[in-house]
């Protein structure tokens, strides 16, 4: 479904992604693992073309994304949830969801506001509240719900467990399993190995913008030296 071929991305002169390639198949839930600064967020932004790769190819369902503006990428069915949440703090919960709304698309689950309130009951209670009046966990739910309003076929979740309370992290894990059950393809960037193992099928480990490992968690466990080299703090 998603295919990255030899991606090189830069921030100014800093070389962030170095010849990165991987594939994600339809229906998979994949974890993108690595330390702070390894290039996880940049990978997601490179897919969205928010940080357009300087060379290499990004393909989504056989169509080339490289060079498109971000809104076209989103319209093709990729939903992006940024790590810093970036909800519209002056808008109400309902208005935030409205901004994300896109028409239904074939081959992807369709979401309504009421369905999303079913998954995130806290949001339903606060539907008329402004974004800035909400807690970090609630904001994290809102940003996921907002992206789901676009009925994406592929969801990019950038560090969904970061900076939220453990009880919410658990809720988040259930949510992601629910999304998987709906047939959504998901890529999650994570530093929390336990969380990643609980919700995903496969791990891709990157370090300094290069792919170091790509396989199942069983395979990863068979090679503790990889985990120690690229994930241990």
């Amino acid at each position: 479904m998603l295919e990255l071929q030899n991606i090189h991305s830069y921030y100014g002169k800093a070389h962030i992604l170095d010849d990165l390639s991987f594939n994600i198949a339809k229906g998979e839930v994949v974890a993108l693992l690595g330390r702070n600064g390894a290039g996880k967020s940049t990978t997601m932004k490179s897919v969205m073309q928010l940080v357009p790769p300087r060379s290499g190819k990004v393909q989504f369902m056989g169509r080339e994304l490289t060079g498109l503006p971000a809104f076209r990428v989103a319209k093709m069915g990729i939903g992006y949830v940024p790590e810093d949440r970036r909800i519209f703090t002056d808008l109400t919960v309902l208005e935030n969801l409205e901004v994300g709304r896109q028409p239904a698309r074939d081959g992807a689950p369709t979401w309504t506001v009421e369905q999303l309130f079913g998954i995130f009951p806290n949001l339903a209670e606060r539907r008329m509240n402004r974004g800035k009046q909400m807690s970090g966990g609630e904001q994290q739910m809102l940003t996921i719900a907002r992206t789901l309003m676009g009925n994406p076929a592929l969801l990019l979740l950038d560090e969904p467990s970061e900076g939220i309370a453990p009880v919410i992290v658990e809720q988040m894990a259930h949510t992601i399993m629910r999304l998987k059950a709906e047939g959504l393809t998901v890529m999650i960037s994570e530093q929390n190995l336990h969380f990643a193992r609980a919700v995903t099928d496969r791990a891709i480990i990157i370090e300094s913008g290069q792919k170091k490992f790509d396989g199942t968690f069983q395979q990863l466990e068979a090679h503790p030296e990889i985990r120690d080299a690229y994930l241990a703090v």
């Binding site: 100014g12 969205m48 928010l50 503006p69 971000a70 809104f71 989103a74 319209k75 992006y80 940024p82 970036r86 519209f88 703090t89 002056d90 808008l91 208005e95 935030n96 409205e98 901004v99 994300g100 709304r101 896109q102 907002r146 992206t147 676009g150």
Partner: protein, 619 residues
């Protein structure tokens, strides 16, 4: 009592056009973060297009139809301007965007001159609304009542659009984080175009609606822009209800000003603005600007260095050539060179706070004109010797800068720019309306230098010494610890504060120094011309110097000086052409889009590239 009521009604009627134009400006700013200086031009276009359409279309339907069609037409023109001029510069620094819109002003001025000619047009009366209604015995024009009724309807329609529709929701979201809106699948480019078109259409509507009360002329654009900015600043930038309240306050105040204090109408609104800003720095309903929002990251500044040995040699050779100039040049050349040096010092002073301080001042003419007026007033009223009056110029301008800076430095970015512009308008309106002291637009004349300087060559040397001295003084400060602190505050205010630099105080001091140096230039200017007029304090004068700094190159120290030399030289032959504004405007827009580094910056890039190629070949 009846008279009082009639006055209020007139004020409310006048508020209609002002609110329309201001709401458009506020809307555009709220979403695109661009301060559209060409907004007055759309208002003027609205008036001209409206007059033309009303001539063609007959009767009631024709009149109101013409107004709606005008809104549509000006909206389309706005969309065209947004796509062609502004789209390429959304990611550029604020100053570039402002300069681009200034280029648009010049282009529209000359296009309007080409199409409609230089003669003022009187607006037609609204059919069926020619007479007056008597309210408590006082006559109130029927059209005024209609305007009073229309304004709240438009305010409500805009409020509904912004808060209750999908487009409005997207617009508000884009105001906060445009990149995220794009990542959610919204084509924000068209959103921006739509908002810009709507804002322009509102300005066009304002221009057409005011026709029965006024008319159409080629000065409308600059004449309204001062009041529009005051309204937007008082109301709070980006706030529509704020713009409405402020438009009503200013218009009503203006009507009473005309009735009771006719000599202070212009000053009054700036005083109100100052009072409001002391209490609420971001306007009545505005909110504090949050620094470092998403999706607007500027390129890092290139560090500046003092000239090396070769650079110094060039400067010394240039100065020597300038010193020897009177031996070979005639009077005309020397006079031109005096103008160049005066303008170069003026530009260098703006460049000082703009380039090194990062403070985009839109009212720098207040200090140039202020210095000129200070010296001229001393000579004119008290026969002060020229030497003393001349020294007073930088001091007076520096004091003025301390006063204005006290209000402005608290704000930053476009708020700072708007506020400096508004204060320079305050100074201008003082010079224009305080006739007993300043003689208004008759200006102060016969301000000649002392006998020992009263010939072209000696005055040229005097200008050279003062001008070059001033410029070197500014350069010296930039390379001194104070300059480091100033640049640190520009690049990273928080980091600088954490290192113990009082950023605001450093900026305040720099603002005063820049003001004083502009005043020095003004002092030279007034004695070289022998007179001073309020035009030296106009918005256009502040824009001129901004253009010069921009053309020269903001990020290079020599930018201001080179830009001034270039423009003064080119102006001489350019202004002989009939449509020189069009050419200059297009040139400015082209520079903004194609060569945003300015003359000096582009030359340097070219030089680096040539050297690079040579090195490659050498290998």
């Amino acid at each position: 009592m009846a008279f009082f009521l009639a006055q209020i009604l007139t004020g409310l009627a006048n508020a209609a056009a002002l609110f329309l134009v201001a709401s458009g400006l506020s809307l555009i700013f709220g979403v695109t973060r661009i301060v559209n200086f060409a907004h007055g031009s759309f208002y003027m276009l609205g008036a001209f297009v409206g007059v033309t359409l009303m001539d063609i279309l007959p009767g009631h339907v024709g009149f109101w139809g013409a107004i709606l069609l005008t809104g549509l037409a000006v909206g389309l023109i706005g969309a065209f301007v947004e796509i062609v001029v502004l789209r390429p510069v959304y990611r550029a620094p604020e100053l570039f965007q402002l300069v681009a819109t200034f280029g648009v002003i010049l282009v529209i001025q000359d296009l309007a001159l080409m199409i409609w000619g230089a003669e003022d047009r009187l607006g037609p009366r609204a059919p069926g609304l020619r007479g007056v209604w008597r309210i408590f015995g006082e006559p109130v024009p029927k059209y005024d009542i209609v305007l009073i009724a229309i304004t709240p309807v438009i305010l409500f329609a805009l409020w509904y659009l912004i808060t209750r529709t999908r487009m409005g929701t997207l617009v508000r979201a884009a105001t906060q984080d445009r990149e995220m809106v794009g990542a959610l699948g919204v084509n924000q480019a068209w959103l921006f175009t739509g908002v810009f078109a709507l804002g322009s259409a509102l300005a066009g509507l304002g221009g057409a609606l005011q026709l029965p009360k006024g008319g159409a002329d080629l000065l409308m654009d600059f004449n309204i822009i001062g009041s529009v900015f005051v309204v937007v600043v008082i109301g709070g930038m980006g706030s529509l209800p704020g713009a409405f309240i402020a438009a009503v306050i200013i218009s009503v105040l203006n009507v009473f000003g005309v009735a009771y204090l006719p000599q202070s109408t212009l000053v009054l609104m700036y005083v109100v603005m100052a009072v409001v800003l002391i209490v609420r720095p971001y306007g009545l309903l505005g909110r504090e600007e949050v620094a470092g929002e998403h999706g607007q990251v500027g390129a890092p500044e290139r560090p500046i260095r003092p000239y090396g040995a070769r650079g110094r040699m060039v400067v010394i050779a240039l100065l020597a050539a300038l010193a020897l100039l009177p031996l070979v040049a005639d009077k005309f050349i020397l006079t031109l060179m005096i103008d160049v040096i005066v303008f170069a010092l003026f530009a260098a002073s703006l460049h000082f706070i703009l380039g090194s301080g990062g403070l985009v001042s839109f009212g720098h003419a207040a200090f140039f004109g202020g210095g000129a007026y200070a010296a001229a007033l001393l000579v004119f009223h008290t026969d002060t010797p020229m030497e003393l009056a001349f020294i007073a110029a930088p001091f007076a301008a520096g004091l003025l800068a301390l006063g204005i800076g006290w209000f402005c430095i608290r704000l930053s970015g476009v708020y700072f720019a708007m506020l400096t512009l508004a204060f320079s308008q305050l100074v201008w309106s003082l010079a224009f309306q305080w006739r007993s002291v300043t003689r208004g637009d008759d200006g102060l004349v016969n301000i000649w230098p002392a006998d020992w300087l009263n010939a072209t060559a000696p005055f040229y040397y005097f200008t050279l010494a003062m001008g070059v001295g001033g410029i070197l003084f500014l350069r010296h400060i930039i390379h001194a610890p104070f300059g480091y602190a100033l640049r640190a505050g520009r690049d990273s205010p928080r980091q600088a504060e954490a290192m113990g630099i009082n950023v605001k105080r450093v900026q305040f001091a720099a603002f005063a120094v820049a003001g004083a140096m502009a005043g020095l230039a003004g002092g030279i200017f007034v004695f070289s011309k022998g007179s001073v007029f309020p035009t030296e304090l106009e918005i256009a004068a502040s824009f001129d110097v901004l253009i010069v700094v921009f053309l020269g190159g903001v990020k290079t120290l020599a930018g201001g000086v080179v830009g001034a030399a270039f423009l003064t030289g080119v102006e001489d032959w350019l202004t002989r052409l009939e449509y020189w504004r069009l050419i200059l405007g297009l040139l400015i827009i082209a520079v903004v889009i194609i060569a945003p580094e300015g003359i000096v910056g582009s030359l340097r890039t070219l030089w680096v590239r040539i050297r690079h190629i040579e090195e490659e070949e050498a290998k």
